[in-house]
Structures are given as structure tokens and as C-alpha cells.
Symmetry: D2
Subunit: 390 residues, 4 copies
């Protein structure tokens, strides 16, 4: 275990990056900055931190950016940074969802790597277009499905891949929250405001905000192809414009079954993301709110408590672990692991060296899968809860 400069070299120094969104009053932008900073892999040098120019200016100053690199909008930023010799190598896009696609497009066209929050766009079509663009321009496109950064999630994925569970039969994933139990969007809470607004969030509410995270996690660990799904999207809070509760049944191509529950109206659940996977030979479960423990049960034997940082967690977890077991790591460390992995890819791209095959982070294909999932779920639900091919 180490902290900086883990297995990778730092040849060429830290990655210069900029940020779109994430200014005053935002939440996730600050998380991205902290994640980028944690392992000293990045340096923030530019920003278009708000769609309101004065806010963008104030936010850039507060972060100590060079005044010449505080931009009023992302188009200007992309254009000007492209021209600089010391221009940004990557951009983090942390705006409300509807701005992801235009911003990403601008930076891809400028040849700048993109790190985009999820869901990657508001339509599947946009996501497919971005993929093509990124491929054409040869830029890296990462999507921060941050829960895949938890060390024990990587251990779990490795367990599945190595056959410790046998053929997978069942995946139960859930992500209950309670913060939208009452209509707080009506009293101006900024996070609630845009996340329940179809114009800024897209067609999905809870399904886009947290359902995609749950789905991504199940796919990341289970590695199964979904053939069909059936969704019930419900809006419980009167006056709310998007779903606040999601129930989904999944059929996998190999005959396995899945269920996904996401809710923003379940009092007592803060961020209760939980994954349970069962196979012919073993099963396990993991909870995000106490993520340093993976409960693994070979059928017929006692459950093993596998701790992050222990030998039993394996190599894939050790790669992304900073402190010994018993000293908890959390959300920010998991998020930072995504950034650290992206930095490795950017450096490899920069130097032309081969990328360590162990490097792993969600990309545009995961973003596309998420959008396909949202669109299928919305379609299924609108038709009355019917099976829809994915």
C-alpha cells in the first residue's frame, strides 16, 4: 500500500485539467476536485465553473485559478485551452445532465480528454454520438460511475470472473435514499431542483440519478448481458415531474435473473446502495455505507468477512487501497480511485507507453449502457410495466 505514485510512473508530471460546472452551490464538482487531488495526480488550472458568468468568475477566484483561465462558458474554455501550449489535457464535466453532451462535444473536438459525470447524457442518441466523436479524435472518455472505484467492488468483480461463484444465477441490487421524501424541490433546494426537472435531468429522475449507478455496479461486478427488463417507475411525491422510485426486473442472456430497486423516498436510507450476487457455488453481499467489508459465502460454509486491505481481498483491491484494513476508506477514496485510474490512462496516452492492463475505469460504453437502460426502463414503465428488450 502506498499513497502517491503507486505502481505507475509520474513521468511528465501531474495531469493538467479543467472543470465545467462545479462552482458555488454545486455538490459533485467539489467531490471531483478532491478526488483528483487525493493522489496528487492532477492539477486544476482552468474552469468554466458556472453557467452564470459572475458565479463562474467568483468560483474560479475562490479556487485560486489563474484569472486568464477563468472562463465564462465552456465553448470559450475549449477554444482557448486548445490553443495554449500548457492547455488542459483533460476536462471534468460536472454540470446538470443536459449540459454534459454539448460540453463534452466541445472538448472532444478540441482533442481534450473528457471525464464526465453520470448519466453521461440525457439521450442514448447523444451518448452514441459522443462515442463516435471521441473515437474519431482519439480522446479518452471516462464516466464517473464512482462506486466501481471501491476496492472490495473490484475484489467482488474478480471473484465472479475467476469463477468462485460458479455460474451467476441472481443479482439483487438496490439504491434507496430518503432525501426526496418530501417535495423539497418546491422550496428551492438546488440539488433537488435540477434533479427533478426533466429539462435538466432528462427523462429519468431516480432512475437516472441513482438507478444508473446501481445498474452500472451490477454490470461491473456481474458481467452479464441483459436481454430484457421490466420497469415500474413511480412518482410518489405530489407535484414531482419525474420518478422517485424505481422497481426493475432483469432477465440476463444466460438465464440469470436480477432485480433493481432505487428510491429517493425511503426514510431511513441515506445512500443504501447494496449489491448481492448469487451463483451456483457461492454468494456475496456488499453495502456502500460500510464499504470496507465484503461478506462472501461459499455454499455450505461459514460466511467470510473479507476486509479491504487484507490479503483475502486480492490484488485488484490492493491496487486501489491506501490504508490498512480496519482504517476505513470511504466514498472519496473510491471516487479518487477512478481519477487515479484515468490519470494512468492519460499518462500512457501522453507518453505513448502501453497502458497497464489492470487499469480499469468506466468509459463511454458504460455511459451508453446506462442511457440504454434508462430509455428501456422509461419505455417499459410508460407501456404499463412490460418486458422490453435491451
Amino acid at each position: 500500500m502506498a499513497i502517491e505514485g503507486r505502481s505507475d510512473s509520474k513521468a511528465g508530471g501531474r495531469v493538467r485539467y479543467g472543470m465545467v460546472g462545479g462552482g458555488e452551490g454545486a455538490f459533485i464538482g467539489a467531490v471531483h476536485r478532491l478526488a483528483a487531488r487525493m493522489d496528487d495526480d492532477y492539477v486544476l488550472v482552468a474552469g468554466a465553473l458556472s453557467s452564470t458568468p459572475e458565479k463562474a468568475q467568483r468560483s474560479g477566484e475562490a479556487l485560486g485559478l489563474d484569472p486568464g483561465r477563468i472562463y465564462p462558458d465552456f465553448e470559450t474554455m475549449a477554444r482557448k485551452e486548445k490553443r495554449r501550449k500548457d492547455g488542459i489535457e483533460a476536462v471534468s464535466i460536472v454540470t446538470p445532465n443536459h449540459m454534459h453532451a454539448p460540453a463534452a462535444e466541445a472538448f472532444i473536438k478540441a482533442g481534450i480528454h473528457v471525464i464526465c459525470d453520470k448519466p453521461v447524457t440525457t439521450t442514448l442518441k447523444d451518448a452514441l454520438r459522443l462515442k463516435k466523436l471521441a473515437a474519431d479524435k482519439g480522446v479518452i472518455f471516462a464516466v464517473t460511475h464512482n462506486y466501481t472505484g471501491y476496492p472490495l467492488i473490484r475484489a467482488a468483480r474478480e471473484m465472479v470472473k475467476s469463477g468462485q461463484l460458479g455460474a451467476i444465477r441472481l443479482i439483487q441490487v438496490e439504491y434507496p435514499q430518503d432525501w426526496l421524501t418530501t417535495p423539497i424541490e418546491q422550496s428551492g433546494q438546488k440539488q433537488a431542483d435540477w434533479r427533478t426537472d426533466p429539462k435538466r435531468s432528462g427523462a429519468g429522475g431516480a432512475i437516472g440519478d441513482i438507478g444508473t449507478h446501481a445498474f452500472n455496479l451490477a454490470q461491473f461486478v456481474g458481467g452479464l448481458e441483459v436481454s430484457e427488463l421490466l420497469a415500474e417507475l413511480t412518482t410518489f411525491v405530489p407535484g414531482r415531474a419525474l420518478d422517485d422510485n424505481v422497481q426493475i426486473l432483469l432477465r440476463y442472456a444466460n438465464g440469470a435473473r436480477g432485480a433493481l430497486w432505487a428510491s429517493q423516498v425511503a426514510p431511513g436510507n441515506e445512500n443504501g446502495l447494496m449489491l448481492r450476487v448469487y451463483g451456483e457455488k457461492a454468494g456475496f453481499h456488499w453495502r456502500q455505507d460500510n464499504p470496507n467489508y465484503l461478506y462472501f459465502t461459499p455454499h455450505g460454509e461459514p460466511t467470510r468477512i473479507i476486509t479491504r486491505g487484507s490479503a483475502a481481498a486480492g490484488e485488484d483491491a490492493a491496487r486501489v487501497t491506501r490504508v490498512p484494513p480496519g482504517h476505513p476508506e470511504g466514498y472519496l477514496e473510491g471516487f479518487a480511485n477512478i481519477y487515479a485510474e484515468i490519470a494512468r490512462a492519460i499518462r500512457a496516452a501522453r507518453s505513448g507507453e502501453a497502458l497497464d492492463p489492470a487499469v480499469l475505469f468506466p468509459g463511454i460504453d458504460d455511459g451508453i449502457a446506462g442511457m440504454a437502460f434508462i430509455e428501456a426502463a422509461v419505455k417499459s414503465s410508460k407501456k404499463g410495466g412490460v418486458w422490453v428488450k435491451l
Copy 2:
């Protein structure tokens, strides 16, 4: 808190009862006897303990029954006990499912109260017929959905009824097990053998064995009317004749939503029955494998850990509690609570006194609801997983 003769009188002495099934090699029969014995409310005086006469004989002797009241079959038992002045007042039917209806019918016709294991029959039609018969003969018909006997489940029910959660929005119930992960029925395990055999279990496997328990629990606590359900019944173990995994979505008449998962192939789950209920104002969760704690969260406040036996658990829990909080009660105590409640009803019937309105145990209507649930789920699943009215 007390142990014997709690709030009720014991006028007239213990209830004389007999048992059908539950002999050598059986599991649940012994649980019923222990439950009946726990509070000294019953005395076992007769039995037709096996469909194999020699086993019935040996089992009766082992239990110390009067040789004249060890019967080779339930028909004989019903006929002869009816004629005795000191004949049984009640019978416990603990056979495989397919024998419930004929046995119950025989005893009802003999005017003997019936305590029947679940599912109450193998068809809804049978269950409806038994209800009519029991009403005609004026006998009590109890169904041992034993999980409703847990004190904190009664507390939870009372919380819902008294409006502490506001209108219910969501009910998530699950009952995962792992004991049928491999085809143990093929190597003669007796419990697995009949429970996976449609001739003895009926049309449902996991759904009849544990899905009905989960459904009953959700209904007991939530008290909502189901309007529609959609079911995926899956058989994962090759060669198995009945479902071993159940996923169900529920729509309630008031607009609430529910999900039910039952599995017998989820390694690491022994009897993981868990109930979660969320309303406009609060939510709670409870697990059967550590049943002395109810986690209750008024929205926006810290979760409260309500312990069985504490003042916070309320009167409905206190009625069925034997020992102080921190001294755990378990499965057998919960089961015994059902027997104790039935004894109160039988004594009231015996004496003609009014029954304490607090007395609560599952009856034929719950059995009927369970059969309707099984039949709807099987129908939904056979049609490919479609919505079915209940």
C-alpha cells in the same frame, strides 16, 4: 411480562389437542408441539403422526401418548376423538401440503378446531371450501403464519395502523434461503423431497414454502389491498420440478408499490426474511434472523433502535413478550405466540366469554389470501411475467 397465564384466565384448564403428521423425521411438527407447550396452554393427547401406520405408532409412543389415542390415520382419529367426552378440542395439521385440506375437512366436520400449517391447501378452491365448512360448523381455523407472532412485527403493525408512517408508499419484503442451492432432493433429503414435489407441495415451490410467508408478513404489517401482481418464478437447479426463486412486483389499491423476493438458492442466506416499509412520514426495517430489533426512522430524524420488551415497543408487542429486552427471544417464542393466541380464542369459545379484542392470529382468510397469491403468481409467471389481478 410473565410466562404462564399471562393476562388471560386458564379457566377450564389446558386445551386438549391432537396432531396429524409430525412424526419421525418430520421437522415442523416438533416445532408446533414445542410452541404449544411453551406457555403451558395445551396438552397433547392424541395423534395420527404419520401416514405410515408403524411410524405413527412409534411416534405416538415416543411422545408418551395414551396407546388408545395413537391413530393410524386422521379419519379414524377425527371419528373416535369426536365421540370421546375428553376428546381433543383442537388439532394441529403439520403434514405435507396436499394432506392439509382432507385432514382439515375431517376435523372441522367433527367440530374440532383446526390449527393448520401453511400454505393452508394446495388450491385456492380448497381453501375457500374449508372456510365455508368451518363457518358452518363454528370451529376456529388458524393458519400458522408464525412470523406474525414476533413481538416487533406486532409493534410494526401497530405503528402502521396508528399512522406513524403516514400513508404507506412502499413495501419491500424478501425471504432468501440457500438450502436448495444444490439438488439435495435427488439424494433423499426428506424436507427437500416433498417441498420440491408438485404432488405434495402444490403448484408452487419457493413461492408456496416461503413466498407465502413473506407475502403474509407484508400484508399483516402493511394492511394494504393488493390490486395486481407480476411474477417471475424461476427454477435454477437442473431437474427441479418447482420454482426455487421468486421475484414479484406488487401494485396496491392505494397506489403504493411493493416488491417481494424469495429464494432457496442464495448462498449465505439461511432464513433471511426481511421486511421494509416506507411511508410519507417514516420508515422501518426488521429482520427475522435478529428479530429483537426494529429500526424505525421518522423522516429527517435519527433512526431509533426499538428493542423487544422495551417501553418503546408498545402494548401490542408487550402482550406477546416473555423476557426483558437484551435477552433475545427467537423463532420458537414467535411461533408459541401464535399458539398462545389461539388458546385464548379456544378458551373464549369454550366458555362463551367474549374474546379479548387484542387477540390476533392468522386464520382461514389469511390462508385464502396466500392461496390466491400463489395462484396469481403462478399464472403471471406462466404467461411470461405479466400483470395479473389479485
Copy 3:
């Protein structure tokens, strides 16, 4: 697993027993009766259930005793039962502590087996005298240190004995409660009243009431000889006559160390008995309030969750287990296991057959060890907290 008539024969029928104490308003007497009844090994036929004759009468009637065997005092009961052909074979003594010794003496002299609550007496001298008396008369003397009846405590003991932990280095045992946080004895709470009264409890308060349980558990599982101890007995509640908090350090003859904490003034702890044992090769912990799980860690490997009723719990646990894992057993089942074991010993004594060597229950030697422990602790504490030989 089974319920009645486990491995043992029932030749000769159930054990006839009587009870001293345990009438109206008592707590532990009802627990003893339920424990005796659980496996159908005993029948209660006589009682001197209160030191107040009218209460004794009413309590006996409430329990349905033969009027001729409801006694006003234990002396009469011992004398008369001795003369009956169908007299009691055993007596349960469940009075406040100061009555244990005189009652036990009377029954031993009558040749009746004794089942006595803990602490066995109020002085070590009395306990030693009872041992001699019992030996002289050839009667069984059991002491209900009931926590030794928990299946996983038996599994833990077996693990230690079989060397799975290597040489034991450390034993940490604690028993915090909170029910005496305020001076409820001053407002007449019956249990608090006698348990804080030196005349009825003896020289120890918390140490006698729960400290002895903790000590007994550590000895039962650890099997180590104590050489010295040092005790701080504290009385936190103003006006209380006995200790309500106990801190003890232990030195074992083999060089191991121990610590014991018992408290009745620790808010948030109901009956938080917990045992942790660490050896050269492995360690484990167990909590009474969720007793169906034993957390076992071979050094350097993941912790195993060993569940009651599972194969991993081993034979010693299986002997005293009634229902499958995942269906929790609790306090009453553990208590009943002690009664079941005593019944086996009584039947063996009755028939002259050899006793199954697996039978295990606390006896007068454990009672003596408990009294020696209390007296040493009181002495250590009175001297200012100094080391005292045991």
C-alpha cells in the same frame, strides 16, 4: 436437530419437580418453569412459591398445582415431599440469594436433587458446606449459569479445548446493563429492591448479579485457572447499598490475562454480555444479545461467521440446538438446555445407567468458584483495588 427426546431415552417418564420461590411478582421463577417445560422433560408438581403463605397459595393455584402440594414454606415441602411415593425428584430454588442455602440444605437432606439459581449462596462458606452435604447424600446439585447453555458458547468452548486458538492469551468479558441507572429500588421496583439489598443479595451487587455470570462464562469457555484478581467495585447511584459497576483485572496461572466489566448503570446496554477470547493462533467473539453468531478469526485469515445450527458449529452445539440456522434461538432456549442436561443426569441417576459424557451443566463447583470470585473481588476492592489471590 429435534425437539423432544433428543438423543436420550425418556425411560421412566418426565422428572417430577417442585419449586421454591418464583410466585407472584417474581421474574426468574417463570423462566425456570418455561425452561423445564420446553423439551417436555419435567412436570411441576409441588411448590413453596413465596415466603408469604397467602402468595404461595395463590401462586400454586394459578399454576394448577394439586392443592395438597402447595406448601407454605420450603421446610414443610421438603419434609412432606420426601415421604410421598410420587414425591419430587428435584427442586428448583429461585428465591433471593439469601434463601438459597437454607432451602438447598433442606432438600439435599431429603435426598432431592437441587437446581439452584446463581449466585449459589451468599457466602463461600455456605457453598462449600452445600457441596459436602450434596456429596454425602448423593444428590445432583446444579447451578443455573444459564449462558453456558447457548449452543455457540459450547462451540466456543470446544474450539478452545481442541486447540484451534492455540494457547489462550487474553479473555475479555463484559456484562453491561442499564436498568439501575437511576435509584429505582427507592420506588419499590421489586427486582431492584432485593438485588440492591445486602441482606438478601449478599456482599455483592452487580458483581453477584451479573459479574458472576460473566466470570462463569469466561471460565466455562476459557478453562483457565485464575491465580489473582484486582477489583474496583463502585457504587454510582447515591443511596445504593451495593456496587453497581465492576471492573476486574485477572491473571491466569498460565500467564494469560483477563478483564471483566459488569455494570448496571451503562445506558444503552440491556443485557450486553460479550465474550472475547484470543490465543496464539486465533480469536473469537460472541454477544448474548444476538447469540446465533460466533465470529471466529484464524490469525491472518478472514473472520468466519459461524451460525448456530450450521455444520461449522460442531457437535457440541448441535446437541443443544432445536431449529435450523437463520431461525434464531434465544435466552429461553439456552436456559432450557441447562434443564435438559440436568434431566439427562437425573434420569441416569434414576436408572443407574451411565451418564452420556457429553452432558454438561454447571454444578456446585461452579457455584463455589463464583462465590470465591465474589469474595475475592469484594476484598480486593475494599483494600483499595489490590491484587488478591483466588
Copy 4:
């Protein structure tokens, strides 16, 4: 909640700091650097990262330090940095214990603020001397008792101070680990090597390494004056030169009692730091390995689960919280909170502005208290386990 630039201003930019120790193969140095980096409050500009000059050089290069500020030893670093206009404002000392005092002395004399790992020195005398020196030179002296940085520990402290528990009666604190269960120091494990070596660690093994952390935590939260202690320091692993297990009883000046257990030989415990505090009116417990939950019980009411980031955690916790409840924070965030608080103090000192009275971090007085604790415990234990004044 926010991430950078929380309530405080950043006038004057980030704090320039250097590091002594923490080079190749070290553990805690990297933790300090990450903690310093997390909130963007510091910039590392100089280092004497190893006592081996070549290692110091390589480590400085690996961290990207200016070659002119990679020093072969701390004396040179203190001397040269003092002279620079852009010299370091603070130094982090993260060497083995025996080097803390000489290094701290050199930097204090150079007028540079000191952030020192714990225990602050190897003797009480040294610690007292450093206090005087620091006062004379007007430098800040912080000691990284990092567990005081956990938000819920701050909430717990505030609860005690505000009287929610009433007068404190009992403090139970423990810190069990298992990593020294076998003599790994004999096979060259670097951390084990110096931590079990009296020359580098001082007179205490487990007591200095983790016992001081436990003691500091109890003092930080409980705020009580210790009058006497009694210690048993034991060495279980053959050949080990220092204690690997610590049992301590504490008497507080107000009559409260305490117990402290620290161990490095308890298999199954990784970093099991746990604090339990009980008062006349309420109690709570908290565990470091799942630090986002505080279990608070007002006497007679249900336990409340207070989550980090929730309103119930209060202002003192909110100040040092980055992400919403349910998204776990861990060890590094807690550590970083100490650094963030120190940065606030350094900036206030820099600008001459008054320091926000809410700023809170352990200082030289805590370091002195820790040394007094170690020396008293060693003395008590050497005398055979007797009471010693503190």
C-alpha cells in the same frame, strides 16, 4: 458541506510545509501528505524524508520536490528553510518516535510551526521542554492524534460538554489490533521492527503506539481529569522487547471510573478502536472501523443512530464533514480534518487575525498528557500493577 475553502478564508494562499521522515518504505508519512493535500490547504515544498541520505534524495525526487529543497537531514533543512524568503511555514515530523524531539527542537528554534506524529516524544521530560521552547518562540505545536478529527467524535465531545449525558460515570475505551500476534519484527517487517524497539519507540510498545491514541480519545471526548491509574503491560510474543497488550484502570477526579484496553495480539481485530461513555442521563458508543455512526441512548429511550453529516450530528461535526450522510468518510478524512484545523491556525497566525474559536486540534499539552500517561502506566506495571497518581 463543502470541500475546499470551507468557512475560512484562504488569504495568502496555501501553507508551505516540509516533511521530516516519511520517505521510501514509510507508512504514516504518506498519510500525512494525503491529509495535507485533501482540502488543498497545504503545499509540500521541502523534505528530509529519510535518515539515509540516498533514500532522502530518491524520495524527494519521487515526490517532485525542488532539488534544492531535498535535504539530507533535518538540521540542514531547518537551517536553510529558515533563511529562505519562501521557506516552509510548517514542518510535519513523521519519523520513528526517538527522532521527534530533536527534529521538533530544530524547527521550533527556526520559528517554524510543528506538526508532530504521536507519541510526541519518548520521555515526558522532552515533551515538557518542547512546550516551553514552542511558547518561547511563539510557534504552533500540533500533535496528530488523528482520531479526534472524526466528525462524530466531535459530536460526541459536544454532547458531553453540553450535558446531554449528565455527569460522566464511566469511560470504556479500547484499541485492539492483531498485526503483532506473531513475531513479525524478527523477519524484518519495517513497521514492526521499530515499533517494538525501545531505542526507537521509547519505553512503551502497544501503550505508546495505540494506547496513547485510546487515552487521548477518551480525554478529548470525556474531558475528565485522571487522578490515578493502574496498568498491566504484558508481552505475549516471546522475544519481543516491549509490551504488546495493555490493560489499564482509571480513576477520575470527579469519581468516574475508566478502563482502557489496547492490544496488538488479538486476532480478528484490525484497528478496533472503540469508545463508550456513560453518564447519569445517557450513554453512547462509537467504533473507528465504521465511524459514520454514533449510537446514542438517552436512558430509558431507544438508541438513536446518529449519522455523520446529518442534522442530528450537530455543528461541531458539520464543520469537519465533506460529503452527505450515507456516503462514508474514513480514516484519511479524519486525519485531514486535523490538518485543515491546523491550517486555519497557521493562517490566523500568519495574518494576525483572531482564530475562530471553533478550531480544534491536539497540541503539545495533549502530547504531554500522553507521555505522562505512558510513563505512569510503565511505572505502575513495573511495580506489579499498582495505583499510580497521574
